[in-house]
């Protein structure tokens, strides 16, 4: 038996033909001794587990019974050459709803399952997906980046040429500024995935635009940059020159591999911390001008209408924000017993800087305590916070409130409504509250005090 195992592992590891004959000899030898051949072969066959054998034994069948995966081969290395999650994880997936479709699922959104997120990196297959004309599948050989307008030397680059610039890798969230937007007039979603799942966080690899511009001679009167995609929607957005010369990037890498088509393969704009819509996917063109462009998505949409009837336009950064991810309606506390110690965990983020701290409240924001930050704390990136709590089976109103290093603090719902009203659609960052019932169920509520 041991010999068989050893021989077959040699087969996998070394494939030199020189040792082939000896293996064949071995096989034929065992064939001659049919008893040992049978014994050897039966080792490789599935073992039928006799339930009777375990009758009367006390304990967990998961421990007492032999399992298929411990008594048969797994799949060989030749299978799944691009790895897939365990099939048992199929419920960890993006989700959509008809109510957030624009008549069809080409101009629509699929939400990130942030209830299942671990750490601060979203796997590429779970990254939220917002498109305006479907997911373009671009042939990178047929794609170009053009930079023109108020530059001394306009430029066109192939993807290979673009990737010759020195690259940087940065961890940043991307958030649609409509994240939580349907809830300005009150809570709507009995799910964190839909209440806050229009965001994800990844490590992006690409080039600073300022590094490309050194060669192009940006003219003094260039104040704005149009970024435009080449997909069905040809979506454009205007970016002020300050951001272009600070940390704006053209990225082609996402968590160590090429961008997914849903994220703009082969390249997208990344303006760290700013509206996800500004991070134009399937990027084809950058044009510099002295006046803003007034694209559809920066006038008709992505403007925040205030009570005064005036709307904030060019509302660049996603403001400081946070949400408790455990517990949440999707992952409640219904399994806890009184006296259990449990970790309250959540995500905080600010498009304007680095998270400095997060407070939580158990009484809907009347009294607060500070949590611990956990893991990497980086600018314009998801940041984990954590608090150890003794579960008492009492009803709670669990709120979180983040602050950043630029001096921003999450406002109460009341304060945010006083400033913005309830018709803004975009840029909602008021304090988020979960109601935990005596049974440990979790409901989405808003505190208006």
């Amino acid at each position: 038996m041991n010999k068989i195992t050893k021989a077959s592992s040699e087969v996998n590891v070394t494939s030199e033909t020189a040792i082939e004959p000896s293996r064949r000899d071995f096989f034929r030898k065992t064939a001659a001794y049919s008893v040992s051949a049978l014994a050897a072969a039966s080792v490789m066959a599935p073992v039928k587990v006799d339930a009777e054998e375990h009758k009367g034994k006390k304990g967990d069948p998961a421990i007492l019974e032999e399992k298929k995966w411990g008594t048969t081969f797994g799949y060989p290395v030749t299978h799944n050459l691009y790895g897939q999650p365990s099939p048992y994880e199929h419920n960890v997936t993006r989700r959509y709803t008809k109510l957030l479709s624009s008549g069809n699922y080409y101009a629509s959104i699929a939400m990130c399952p942030i209830q299942d997120s671990m750490g601060i990196i979203t796997p590429n297959g779970l990254f939220f997906n917002r498109d305006h004309g479907g997911v373009a599948e671009i042939d990178p050989n047929e794609h170009r980046l053009m930079i023109h307008g108020l530059v001394e030397k306009p430029l066109v680059l192939t993807m290979d040429e673009l990737k010759r610039y020195p690259n940087v890798s940065r961890i940043h969230f991307i958030e649609c500024p409509a994240n939580g937007g349907p809830e300005w007039r009150g809570p709507q979603f009995p799910s964190i995935q839909f209440a806050k799942g229009m965001m994800s966080c990844a490590q992006w690899t690409g080039v600073y635009i300022k590094d490309i511009l050194k060669d192009l001679g940006l003219k003094k009167e260039a104040l704005w940059m149009l970024a435009e995609g080449v997909d069905n929607s040809h979506m454009g957005r205007t970016v002020p020159i300050d951001k272009v010369l600070d940390d704006a990037m053209i990225v082609w890498g996402q968590n160590g591999e090429a961008l997914r088509p849903e994220q703009g393969y082969p390249i997208r704009l990344l303006v760290p911390g700013w509206e996800g819509n500004l991070c134009v996917k399937w990027l084809g063109r950058l044009e510099f001008a002295s006046e803003p462009f007034y694209a559809k998505e920066e006038t008709a949409k992505y403007t925040a209408l205030k009570k005064s009837g005036k709307a904030i336009q060019h509302f660049y950064a996603n403001e400081v924000n946070s949400v408790i991810t455990s517990p949440c309606p999707d992952k409640p506390w219904t399994d806890l017993k009184k006296g259990d110690m449990v970790e309250i965990e959540g995500l905080a983020w600010s498009g304007m800087g680095t998270i400095e701290g997060v407070d939580i409240s158990f009484d809907g924001g009347k009294n607060w305590v500070e949590t611990s930050l956990k893991g990497l704390v980086l600018p314009k990136a998801w940041t984990r916070f954590s608090f150890m709590y003794k579960y008492e089976g009492k009803p709670l109103l669990l709120s979180s409130r983040a602050r950043d290093d630029a001096g921003h603090v999450q406002p109460t719902v009341k304060h945010e409504r006083e400033v913005m009203g309830v018709e803004s659609v975009y840029h909602r960052n008021g304090i988020f509250t979960w109601e935990v019932t005596a049974k440990g169920e979790v409901n989405n509520v808003q505190v208006l005090s």
Binding site: V168, N232, S233, D242
Partner: protein, 375 residues
């Protein structure tokens, strides 16, 4: 709290003294750029200090090197991709089209989604909601305290510039076939949409035979032209934005109250009914196998992988390798029944049924799979 306020105060004071140097706090963040100007979005920037920006190390030489990659595009290439249309008419081609022509194009290409007269529905946006000058006045409406009339945000009432409509129709519509309309068709559709919004050009409403052209279009003044803050036009546009977003009051900022932050018990708003809960797929935290799609299973494949592939997956053990046409052609020379028989009773190094206790029909199923995969 104190740390944050202290740092803000400190960085503001030092910036006033040394206007050009960026001050890095604990996080390396600075409210000002190297040129002394506040960060445009009201947030922080992370200047390079000691070879790092915030927590990231960088190769400073890489960012000081000037690269010359790519090539200069031809004038035709720039023209082919330069498809935007700006408020001052930059990028807007000459052409014309009447309201009547637009009406008929609308019926053909737009009404299926935007409905008759641009009333919208089924998730597709409305293109008008009556007289735009009247509708613009609704923008102060708030749906609170039982008021169900919200602000009307359609092209005529809300959009600040008409150029946006021309640009968007040309490059984004019709949704299934963008870039398919001619310049004159776009003028006609734009004329029709202006007319159903009851907008006036030079004091004139657009009747059916109104022929819109570039010159007339550029005279259209939108009712909500001044409805947006900050003002971004002109040489001061960027500075206006900087000023606006650095005044946190314009969009609200919380305070870090820790105790007794409001009077009495919290006033709660709850989801009405079951809220929006039609999710696809439905929310589930179960760790189970996905439902199998009918017909997705290849007979024998699973059994093969579990019981036979160890010998037949490669030819290393002398067994005919699945996928090797030549080897299987030789096996099949004496007919499939002989192969079944050999497999069931054993042959050469192979014990009966490969050492398994599978029923005969399962063995035959596996053989069929192996033969099929080796053709």
């Amino acid at each position: 709290m104190f740390k944050s306020y202290h740092k803000l105060f400190l960085s503001a004071a030092v910036v006033a003294a040394v206007a050009t140097s960026a001050i890095a706090g604990d996080t390396g963040g600075s409210r000002t750029y190297a040129n002394g100007k506040k960060v445009i979005d009201g947030g922080d920037t992370y200047p390079v200090k000691n070879g790092k920006t915030s927590s990231y190390f960088i190769n400073e030489k890489a960012h000081k090197t000037k690269f010359s990659k790519g090539r200069v595009p031809t004038a035709d290439e720039i023209a082919a991709w330069n498809i935007d249309v700006m408020p001052d008419g930059t990028g807007l081609p000459e052409g014309h089209g009447t309201v009547e022509e637009g009406d008929s194009l609308y019926e053909d290409k737009c009404a299926a989604c935007h409905f008759d007269f641009g009333t919208g529905g089924s998730g597709y946006p409305a293109l008008q909601k009556g007289n735009a000058y009247e509708g613009q006045k609704s923008l102060t409406n708030q749906r609170v305290d039982g008021n169900d009339d919200g602000p009307i945000r359609v092209f005529g009432t809300y959009w600040p510039r008409a150029s946006t409509l021309w640009w968007y129709i040309k490059t984004g519509m019709p949704h299934p076939a963008p870039m398919s309309l001619t310049t004159n068709e776009v003028y006609a559709l734009v004329a029709y949409i202006i007319s159903i919004n009851e907008l006036k050009i030079d004091g004139e409403e657009l009747d059916d035979d109104y022929d819109l052209n570039r010159e007339k279009f550029l005279k259209l003044v939108m009712p909500n032209k001044d409805g947006f803050v900050p003002k971004i036009d002109g040489p001061k546009g960027v500075e206006n934005a900087r000023k606006y977003f650095n005044d946190f009051k314009n969009y609200g900022n919380g305070t870090r109250c820790m105790k007794n932050c409001f009077d009495g018990k919290p006033v709660l708003a709850r989801i009405s009914g079951s809220g929006i809960s039609d999710y696809q797929p439905p929310i589930s935290e179960k760790k189970d196998l996905p439902a199998k799609k009918a017909g997705s299973e290849v007979p024998g494949k699973k059994t093969y992988e579990a019981s036979c592939a160890v010998c037949h997956g490669t030819d290393a053990m002398g067994a005919p390798e699945v996928g090797n046409k030549k080897a299987w052609a030789a096996v099949l020379k004496k007919g499939i029944d002989k192969v079944y028989n050999n497999a069931i009773h054993g042959i050469n190094g192979m014990p009966p049924k490969g050492g398994t206790s599978l029923p005969d029909d399962k063995i035959k199923e596996v053989i069929n799979y192996m033969v099929g995969a080796s053709k």
